[in-house]
Symmetry: C2
Subunit: 393 residues, 2 copies
C-alpha cells in the first residue's frame, strides 16, 4: 500500500480529480456523506481512488483505506454509485489485534468518476463556490439514487450537469441550504419534501473556492509563510512592488506572483471578502502603500508585520496627508501580526501568521479548544459535586 498522497492539501485533491476526469480513466471518487461519533474527517472529505495509483486524499486516518480500495473495484466494475456504511465503533475484543482501531460510523458515497462531476471541478478551477447535490434515497417518482444537480451561488438555481435547469427538484429548502454550504465549504445530508408525501434524501456537498492569501513582500521570510499557507489550502499570491526578482522561482508554493505598483494594486489583485493579506515588505513606505489600498478593501484580514508603534507612525503619516480610516477598516488590521505562540524562528513566525489567518477565515476566536468547552476538571468537579453535595472553596 503506497501512502504518499494521503496528506495533500484539499485543493490538490480537487485538482487531481480534475486531471483524472480529463484523462477519462476509470477512477472512483469516495466522499464522506455522514459521520456519527468520533471521526477524523467531516462530511465532504474526499479520496480519489485511481484505477492504477495509490489514491489521493483522506477519508479516515488510515482505518478504511484498504476497505475502500476493495469496494472501489466493485463500483468500477458495475459502473454504479454505492453508499457504504462503515461501523468503526470500537470492538474491545480487537484491542490487541492488528487493526489500527477507529471510532465512529461513517457513510461513504463511492461513485465512478464521470462527466457528471465536471461542473464541480470547473467551478473550483475558476474560483467559484459550488454545491453538488446528490440523491441518496431512490424510489421517489422521477428521482433515482445518484441523480445529481448543481447549485451555483452566483446564479441561485439548480442545474443538471449538462447545464439545463433542474425544475423538478424541490428548490426552496435545497437552494438556501446549498447556498450556505457552498460558501462555507461544508457538507450535510438533508431530507426534503418531494411532493405527494414522499421525501427525498439529498447530500449537499458545498465546495468553496479556496480563500486567497496575498503576501506583500519578497524577502526570504515570505517563503515559509507561502509554504505553510499553501499546505493549509490557501491560494497564495506573492506581490512585490519591484520587478526583476524572479518571484515565481523563489516562491514555488505560490499560486501566482505579481509585480504591481501602488496605482494598479486594486486591478492586479481583485481584493474581495475571501482575500486575506499579509504585509511584510520590511519597508515602511511600501507597507503603507499596500495598507492604503488593503484597509479600504473588503479583505477581512490584513496582517502587518512589525511592532504596533510602527503602524501608529503610519497612521500619523496618513493623517498628515488628511487620510483617516474608518473604525471598521481598522477592524481588519492585525498588528503585531500572528497569534501569540512565542516562537522566534522563521517557521515559528510563519506558523503563527498562518494560524491567525485560518482563525479569521473560519471566524474563530483563537484559543485552546478545551477552553471553548470549559476545562475538563471543571466538568469533573461539577459531576463530583452532584454526587457529594456542595464542596467548600
Amino acid at each position: 500500500m503506497t501512502e504518499t498522497n494521503w496528506s495533500v492539501p484539499e485543493t490538490e485533491v480537487v485538482q487531481r480529480v480534475h486531471e483524472r476526469l480529463d484523462a477519462a480513466g476509470t477512477d472512483v471518487l469516495a466522499t464522506v456523506v455522514d459521520v456519527e461519533g468520533n471521526a477524523y474527517r467531516r462530511p465532504g472529505a474526499k479520496m480519489l481512488l485511481d484505477d492504477d495509483g495509490p489514491g489521493v486524499g483522506s477519508i479516515t486516518a488510515g482505518c478504511l483505506e484498504d476497505e475502500l480500495r476493495a469496494a472501489a473495484t466493485g463500483v468500477r466494475e458495475r459502473g454504479e454509485p454505492e453508499t457504504i456504511t462503515y461501523d468503526l465503533m470500537e470492538d474491545e475484543a480487537d484491542v490487541w489485534g492488528m487493526g489500527v482501531g477507529c471510532n465512529g460510523v461513517i457513510d461513504v458515497l463511492l461513485e465512478p468518476l464521470d462527466e457528471t462531476y465536471r461542473p464541480a471541478v470547473e467551478a473550483f478551477a475558476d474560483g467559484r463556490d459550488v454545491a453538488v447535490l446528490t440523491v441518496l434515497s431512490g424510489g421517489v417518482d422521477g428521482f433515482e439514487y445518484g441523480d445529481r444537480v448543481y447549485y451555483d451561488p452566483d446564479d441561485g438555481g439548480l442545474v443538471r450537469p449538462d447545464g439545463s435547469p433542474a425544475e423538478e427538484w424541490p428548490h426552496a429548502t435545497l437552494t438556501s441550504m446549498a447556498d450556505d454550504l457552498a460558501r462555507r465549504g461544508r457538507a450535510d445530508t438533508v431530507t426534503v419534501d418531494a411532493g405527494d408525501g414522499a421525501t427525498l434524501e439529498v447530500f449537499v456537498d458545498g465546495i468553496a473556492a479556496p480563500a486567497e492569501l496575498v503576501v506583500f513582500g519578497t524577502g526570504h521570510d515570505v517563503g515559509p509563510v507561502t509554504e505553510l499557507a499553501a499546505k493549509n489550502d490557501f491560494r497564495v499570491t506573492v506581490a512585490g512592488f519591484r520587478g526583476g526578482l524572479d518571484l515565481a522561482d523563489r516562491f514555488p508554493d505560490a499560486t501566482r506572483t505579481v509585480t504591481t505598483s501602488p496605482g494598479s494594486l486594486e486591478d492586479d489583485l481583485q481584493l474581495d471578502e475571501r482575500t486575506h493579506a499579509v504585509v511584510m515588505t520590511h519597508n515602511f513606505v511600501d507597507d503603507r502603500l499596500a495598507l492604503e489600498t488593503l484597509l479600504e478593501s473588503p479583505a477581512p484580514y490584513v496582517g502587518l508585520m512589525g511592532p504596533r508603534e510602527r503602524f501608529e507612525e503610519m497612521l500619523d503619516a496618513f493623517a498628515d496627508e488628511g487620510r483617516v480610516f474608518a473604525e471598521d477598516a481598522l477592524e481588519s488590521l492585525y498588528t503585531p501580526i500572528g497569534l501569540d505562540l512565542g516562537g522566534g524562528s522563521p517557521y515559528q513566525i510563519a506558523h503563527s501568521i498562518v494560524a491567525e489567518v485560518l482563525a479569521v477565515e473560519n471566524d474563530r476566536t483563537p484559543r485552546h479548544l478545551r477552553e471553548r468547552e470549559g476545562h475538563i476538571h471543571d466538568r469533573v468537579d461539577a459531576a463530583a459535586d452532584v454526587g457529594a453535595g456542595p464542596t467548600p472553596e
Copy 2:
C-alpha cells in the same frame, strides 16, 4: 546568490554548525548580539557562512545577507572575531531604490568557526541546555574581546572551551543570567562588574535543547503533525504500541520512532518537563494506556485527539479501576486537541495541534498578538481623547 537554506529550522542550523566544525573548514558564524527597533530576528539568531556554500540560517529577512557574506570574507582572512553594527533605520530617499528596505539597528558577532564553539554543538547534540558567554568589550585586565566560556545548567559553573574552570570570570551575575537564558533559549548582552571599577560587556547566548514532541499513533494523520512539528524545532518521536509498521520510513521527519508497550513506556521515552505528547492512536484502549503514563509524568502538554466525551469515558474507565488523577495531572491535558482555528483538513488539524504545543512550550496564552497589546483603535481613540477631551459614549 543561492537562497535554499535560509528558512531551515533552527535545530538544523546548529546541526550544520556541528557538521562544519567536524569538517574543519574556514566557515564564519554570524550571531545577532543586539537589536534595536524593528528587527525580524531576536538576539541569538544565527547564520553560518560556509566558505563555499550559500550559508544556512537567517539574521534578517534578506536585508543583510549580502553584506554579511562580504564581511565574512574579511573575518575569515584575518582569523579574528568582529562585531559589526548595521544601521537599517529607514532612509526615505531610498524608498524607490532597489534596496529591500529594513528597519532597526542590529549588532552581529562574526567569528571564525573553530574549536571554541564545540562545547555548544556537543551540548545541543546531547540534548543539554547550554549558554555561550563571549566578551564583547576588551580592555579589562585579563579579558580579551572574543574570550569565551560556557555555562552548563547541570553543573552550574563557568568553564573554558577546554573544560577547565573559568575562575577569574565574575560568576554571580553571569551564572544566574546564563541559567535562565540557557533554559529558555534566549540571548542577551549584560554589563558586569569586573573588579577595580572596570566593567565587562558579555554576550550570553542561551541555546536550549530542543523540546521533544512524542506522538502516540501510527495512522496517516501522524505525518502532517510530525512534519510541522519538526519545522517548528521540536525533536519528534513517533511511538506505536505495535511493531512491524516500518515507522521510520513512514515518518521521515521524526527524529526517532519507537515501538513500545504500556509497561516499558516510561523507560522507552524518558518523559521530562521538556517533553510534550500528542495522543492520536484512534484506539480507545491504546489512548488510555498512553494517557495513564503521560498524565503522571512531568510532561507539560498532553494533547488527546477526539471529542471531550471520549476522555470522560476514559476517566470513567480509570475510575472503575480505582485510578484517580490529581487535579494538576489534568491541567496538562488538552482535549479536544489543538487551537480553535476551524480547519478540517489533515494539514489544518496538524497546524492547530502544533500551534497549541508551541503556545504551551513558550508559556503563552494563544490569542491574536494585537489583543495582547490592546486593539489599535482603542489606542487611537485614547490618543484622540487626550487631544479632544472626553468624548461621549
